[in-house]
């Protein structure tokens, strides 16, 4: 009898956890979306997406270049996202207070606003002709709808009864986790130790034909590596003028194993 009681409690904890996960996910999702709009532009510790630039360019493609149009569209978006955030926060507050009826009402409003937001985005994607964003927003709409169903029906789903782990299983799984983590950590740190220099390291050009050279950059290489490599090439070849740089397109690279490859064409000064 006592065992049964414990199992029921565990099961309720499991279902509550899923509801907490759903609520916390949507709160963080909308909170970060609102913060992204409030911050604007890339800053130290927050890059985000330049939504003003994105929306302004979309409207400009329709012939509506005035920034006021993009501002209005963004303000409508922010209104929807902010209220979705507020309703999910309210749902979490009531859920923590075990006020289930209010939780459901607040959560429902949050989900309704989420669905409206993604429908609004999907219409925009069709008008602007961006089918990748249409897929993205369609998927978020779908995830919102499923979140609603799972949230209201999770109580009817059979979840495993027991959260406890046996002593033997706990020791063996902990040893396994520690061992694999140690190996992986060593590998990551070693790779960092040996490879981070590639981010800025100058790469030597290889002569391909009489006046054509190849530079094959490692994956970590950024604009500094590119610039220092060009500078070195110019220093090493004072009699040559760069007339053209050809970037090898993806089909010329070997699957995922080649990074950026450029070919430099020169002529004698």
């Amino acid at each position: 009898m006592e065992n049964k009681k414990i199992n029921i409690t565990n099961s309720v904890i499991g279902k509550d956890l899923i509801k907490y996960f759903i609520l916390i996910y949507w709160i963080l999702f909308w909170l970060l979306n609102v913060v992204d709009k409030a911050i604007g532009g890339a800053h130290f510790l927050f890059v985000g997406k330049d939504r003003f630039a994105q929306v302004q360019r979309f409207f400009d493609s329709l012939g509506l270049g005035d920034p006021i149009i993009a501002n209005i569209a963004l303000i409508i978006t922010v209104g929807l996202e902010t209220f979705a955030l507020v309703f999910f926060c309210g749902a979490l507050y009531h859920f923590a207070k075990k006020n289930m009826d209010a939780t459901r009402s607040w959560f429902f409003m949050g989900i309704a606003l989420t669905l409206i937001t993604f429908t609004y985005f999907s219409v925009g994607d069709q008008v602007f002709g961006d089918h990748f964003e249409l897929l993205e927003h369609g998927l978020f709409w779908f995830i919102g709808l499923l979140s609603w169903i799972i949230f209201i029906r999770v109580d009817k789903i059979q979840i495993f009864d027991n959260f406890s782990v046996g002593k033997k299983q706990l020791i063996s799984s902990t040893v396994l986790v520690i061992a694999i983590t140690a190996v992986t950590t060593f590998s990551i740190f070693w790779h960092n130790h040996t490879s981070f220099v590639e981010r800025t390291q100058t790469v030597e050009a290889v002569k391909v034909t009489e006046n054509k050279y190849k530079i094959q950059f490692p994956f970590l290489a950024g604009s500094n590596a590119f610039e220092s490599s060009i500078a070195k090439f110019k220093t090493d070849n004072p009699t040559e003028n760069i007339t053209y740089i050809y970037t090898a397109p993806t089909p010329l690279r070997l699957g995922q194993s080649d990074g950026l490859i450029i070919y430099i064409q020169t002529e004698k000064k």
Partner: protein, 259 residues
């Protein structure tokens, strides 16, 4: 209003708007003021040409057939929405089922096409839409079988606080958006200052708002400021050189001294 009814409305409105914009996209095949859309005609022409069917009649017939199915699906969703509004729930459900059936058929055709044309990304896209439609139908149908819960919302203390916080956050974020727009909109046309990274090689870091106008103004300003230099070559920095999402576009200008 009942919760399940509102969910049905939201599902129906989503698919009705999805199909009305899809149909408009087919009626307006090119880029016009207030409508850009996707150029399906060009896409179909290229797909069929890749099969060796270069006659445009194949692409035209295929596009017409697909458009017909999309129009039928749109009409089904519209009638379902209309009947739901009129309180004829059973008829609404029938029209929704027909709409979903046609939609599933459309995305199945698309998926077959994607396999034939070898386009794996659009195959993924169409399969995702296919499953979303099937689940939409399950949610719509399943919803009507669940309990009839009425949305309970009165202007109690917590709702008032929530609304107040929502309005406050919206106002603050809107102010921030307008301020950011005011500060950065000039980036759309203002020329960018170049940096000489190597002798006679200049780098320009274009902002996110930058487009062809920015580039043209930048080059004009550069030539005005450097009358002793001739632009020999312009290289667009590939994506691999960007700092992930922070950089929009890098432009390298190679110059030489005028004789």
């Amino acid at each position: 209003m009942r919760e399940n009814k509102l969910i049905q409305y939201l599902v129906l409105i989503h698919w009705t708007l999805f199909y009305v914009t899809t149909v408009i996209d087919k009626i307006i095949p090119d880029v016009y003021p207030l409508w850009v859309g996707a150029d399906f005609y060009t896409l179909f022409i290229k797909f069929f040409a890749s099969l060796g069917l270069t006659d445009p009649i194949f692409a035209t017939i295929a596009l017409t057939g697909i458009s017909f199915l999309e129009i039928v699906a749109f009409v089904c969703f519209l009638l379902s929405l209309f009947n739901l509004y009129k309180g004829k729930d059973k008829i609404s459900e029938q029209w929704f089922y027909r709409g979903v059936s046609f939609s599933v058929l459309i995305f199945s055709f698309f998926s077959i096409g994607d396999q034939v044309f070898g386009d794996r990304f659009t195959l993924l896209e169409h399969t995702i839409f296919w499953i979303i439609l099937v689940v939409s139908w399950v949610v719509y149908k399943y919803n009507s079988l669940t309990e009839e819960r009425v949305i309970k919302f009165s202007l109690s203390g917590d709702v008032k606080i929530g609304l107040l916080i929502g309005i406050l956050l919206t106002v603050i974020t809107s102010y921030s958006i307008i301020d950011f727009s005011h500060d950065t909109f000039a980036n759309k046309t203002n020329p960018i200052e170049g940096e000489e990274i190597i002798e006679d090689v200049y780098k320009f870091d274009l902002p996110f708002l930058g487009d062809k106008t920015t580039m043209e103004n930048t080059l004009k300003a550069f030539e005005d400021n450097h009358p002793d230099l001739t632009i020999k070559y312009i290289y667009t920095g590939p994506e691999e050189l960007n700092s992930k999402k922070k950089t929009h576009m890098l432009l390298y200008v190679f110059t030489e001294r005028k004789q």
